[in-house]
Amino acid sequence: MFQKADIVLGIILLALGFGILALLQSLSVPGYSVAVTVDGALQGVYDLSENRIVQIESANGHNTMEIRDGQVSMIEADCPNGDCMDFGSIRQTNQVVVCLPNKVVLTIRGSDELDSISY
């Protein structure tokens, strides 16, 4: 069923996928804060050391983010599929939570110094 070209392409794609995954993971460090953007605009930056619940209002809807024990997760969203809640908890730089319908993106930031590297 498979041909030689399939195998070559498959190996290249696997190497690319796992290679970038490993690279991102090796560059990732524990975060200090979480940045909330709606439609590309920064809405706020919240310290990870403080447990809190943040309501995120956007033109398209509403999301609720929770910071608990240094981890961030989306706990409520009014979008139809709720994909953003499936991202689980994030705490490392290079990790994101995305709500496409509401155009909400949560990203973890390191210290200021690390920020300029990872951007």
Binding site: M1, F2, D6, L14, G17, D39, D83, N94
Partner: protein, 162 residues
């Protein structure tokens, strides 16, 4: 030539049903936003049985009807970006005659996801979501191989029927 039209219409309906089933029963395998994309089994079968031009019409019909019936402008946009880019890649790879059906479908799955991620990054205006690139690449690959193997079996069965 003209007998392609009823077959194309049936395939478009079938692809639409697959899209609808996935809409009704979203299968999240721990990676948010991932779908097996079963409608692409039909698109691959159309590509090999009816040729690129007709298969493109089948694909466009499915995407537009799915967006109109149970999607939105945004879901239609994502679907169109993924559908067109993956289709272009599959039609080009098929022409080279180097790849099997499953290999063509594998490449289609990967490029489908990459196109959608690119559109998503533009829409939410965040380059950060490109961190998601490797996972989507691997997931697209797995879904593409699965759909490609199924399409190969179907094409074989169709050949036996004539």
């Amino acid at each position: 030539m003209s007998n392609k039209i009823p077959v194309a219409a049936i395939l478009a309906s079938l692809a639409l049903i697959f899209s609808y089933v996935e809409f009704l029963f979203p299968l999240s395998l721990g990676i948010p936003g991932i779908k097996p994309g079963l409608a692409n089994i039909v698109i691959v079968v159309a590509l090999y049985r009816l040729g690129a031009r007709t298969a493109l019409m089948v694909n466009l019909t499915r995407i537009l009807l799915a967006a109109a019936l149970f999607g939105s402008v945004f879901s239609g946009l994502y679907s169109l970006a993924g559908g067109l880019v993956s289709f272009a890649v599959m039609a080009a790879l098929r022409k080279t005659d180097l790849f099997s059906t499953a290999g063509v479908s594998m490449a289609g799955g990967v490029f489908h996801n990459l196109a959608q991620l690119t559109v998503a990054a533009l829409i939410v205006e965040s380059a950060q979501i490109l961190y998601y690139f490797p996972l989507l690449l691997l997931a697209g690959m797995a879904a593409g191989v699965l759909n490609g193997v199924l399409a190969t079996w179907i094409l074989r069965a169709l050949r036996d029927v004539g």
